[in-house]
Symmetry: C2
Subunit: 360 residues, 2 copies
DNA sequence: TGACCTTGCTAAATCCATTTAGCTACGGTC
DNA sequence: GACCGTAGCTAAATGGATTTAGCAAGGTCA
């Protein structure tokens, strides 16, 4: 009765390397024609007048042999020649903040819904990889899965893989520059620079930046620009607080640890909103007030930013805008247009909220 | 230069009803064999020693005719007969809270990663529908797309459609009961009852429930049980506050409107965490304190619940547990096991946090 | 002149499932 | 005995792309 006891077992129990079971094999096994097997497995046995006993034997053989239908074969046959089917995918890392992925997914689904008609159909998939290990997804190199993909949340490792690999279908890369593909990214420096400016304008003196251990192209750009501007304007480098992950509790733990060892700060830039939410908690628990003791800037990738207490000032959150650029771009590539720009820069909006509004 | 001007245009410019362009058509057009076209389009023209001029003509014809490769054909041919490919999908509504979808997606991807080996491959798709309009996705009835799906976030309309339609592949339904399929759901009544109890134990007297206009099976169960328990224990019905959507700002607007017309309450149950976050804001803006003036219970479907101020008490959030049940179930169905339970009830955990901890 | 190579291309088999047209055997009717 | 109907099944074509084996024409070398 142990629930989930079979969780780890593979679906198929066949021995490695054995050719997959097809309806022909089942047919041979039972002693009927493939037509009979097909009819049975498609639940057409009644109208095709197959004997009940035959149906039963076919079903048993299919189960016994571990038959797995080949969808490619089915679809090829079922294909109406007047419809074009496009298979699209969003390729993203597991570790990515969900809202980002969700935005892309919803926007793509919307675009696809609009374009779907009786002659054109779309399917949208998600391909997830573990951050930095995109190359362990060799299936991406197959030309037989997708008509086009949007790739996002890659780490430098992954970018390198993409640069060498040259995927055999249209690709739009979101959030980083890659010379081999069409890219949509934040205007470089903007987020880091403006975050620094917002905090400095609030007359913060000891600035800190909070980021996760793994830096994507985007977050490392934010880090660099922030650091540069702070150095220029204050003569000092900002404190760098590194969290082990990107979840709120990671941010909370990192800031708490910083306080614990006597660290000081009065202005914090968190490279994404989950971390900012965690930082909020650590700051409050330590008895400090936001924004009077510590002003905080986040990144607008979380719809809840506005509902934190106090509402979080966000710079960036250009994701909406990036997605809005990326999706038409993908369709243009699919259409085979030749004048698709290879790089689009998006300037993120800024929302000034209470977390940086300090009484003079 | 207007960007996105072509956003609405279909990818293919062909006239409706024309059969799709195949490599045979291109071949005829150019005056070569399909083999030459295939080689060119697969970028194998060098090793196949095609003349540069031929390649160029083929490429031009393909572009001119608007060729869209048929992935079913490609995959059928490319198929290694020793590998079994499983195509799985998560079917969910657009309107669903993203974290729920993300949980299912990640858990499924994890399961799939474990099971992937050289003989077994998986693809995970997302199919989105507009809440209540699942029947507008007739492709779900095709037997040629998925080996199995997990369906979640349906409205009663959608459940009715599913009940009649009988999808031709294994299905696990998440969060509601449907006699035709295997279902995993919250233990009925539990969430509504426990939320009421938590608030009543905090000595709240005027209870309210906040939910979106559209009730899913799950949320209407929560509403009903909450109402019943409140009525039993206080002799009065709880106030029902209805928000137009499920986003935080919808919750904020609804609660604000309730206050505006003089409404009172000292205990609030929000049927999901986004709404609770919005309610927090409206409550604070109105000058009331949480939990002393108003205690709040949410639903643990948002990782940020713990990081709201004050941390939000959550009942439910059984999603993790439901997903943990549903996924092995799907694999058992795929394997053709016959003793798969048709209904699994999950008892959600409860996290008591500051939002219901009232100084006596 | 013949053996051999290279270039540039094609014919045909193949992947798997589905469906249409049609066959056989049997029973019943007139 | 001719004819029809039906139950129960099969042969073969089909969908689109890829690849292997191999052909034809022209050149090189001895």
């Amino acid at each position: 009765m142990k629930r989930g006891a079979r969780q780890g077992g593979a679906v198929s129990t066949k021995v490695a390397g054995k050719p997959a079971v097809t309806i022909y094999e089942i047919a041979k096994h039972v002693g009927v024609s493939p037509a009979a097997v097909s009819s049975t497995l498609a639940n057409r046995h009644v109208e095709r007048r197959l004997a009940a006993d035959t149906v039963k034997r076919i079903r048993e053989a299919a189960a016994a042999l571990g038959y797995v239908p080949n969808m490619a074969g089915r679809r090829l046959r079922a294909h109406k020649s007047a419809t074009r089917q496009f298979d699209l995918a969003i390729v993203t890392s597991f570790e990515a903040p969900l809202p980002l992925v969700g935005q892309v997914l919803r926007a793509l689904q919307n675009a696809v819904d609009i374009q779907t008609d009786e002659n054109t159909r779309y399917a949208v998939s998600i391909e997830m990889f573990h951050a930095g290990r995109l190359k362990e997804k060799p299936a991406l190199l197959d030309a037989n899965r997708y008509h086009g993909v949007i790739i996002t949340n890659t780490l430098p490792n992954d970018d390198a893989f993409l640069g060498e690999a040259r995927l055999p279908y249209p690709v739009v890369v979101l959030g980083r520059r890659n010379p081999r593909y069409c890219c949509v990214l934040e205007a470089p420096d903007f987020v880091g620079r403006r975050s620094a400016e917002v905090l400095l304008d609030a007359r913060c003196q000891r600035l800190a930046i909070l980021h996760g251990r793994q830096l994507t192209h985007t977050t490392s750009d934010r880090l660099a620009a922030f650091t540069r501007v702070v150095r220029e304007r204050t003569g000092e480098d900002p404190v760098v607080i590194v969290s082990s992950g990107l979840q709120p509790h990671d941010g909370a733990a990192a800031v708490e640890a910083y306080f614990a060892k006597g660290g000081k700060l009065d202005g914090l830039f968190a490279v994404n909103d989950s971390l900012a939410a965690g930082a909020y908690q650590a700051i409050k628990v330590s008895g400090r007030r936001i924004p009077d003791d510590i002003a905080v800037v986040g990144v607008g990738d979380y719809e809840l930013a506005e509902f934190l207490d106090p509402p979080l000032t966000t710079v960036a959150g250009a994701n909406d805008a990036m997605v809005a650029e990326a999706i038409p771009m993908l369709f243009r590539l699919l259409r085979g247009e030749s004048d698709v720009p290879t790089e689009v820069l998006v300037v993120p909006p800024i929302f000034l909220r209470a977390s940086t509004q300090r009484g003079k």
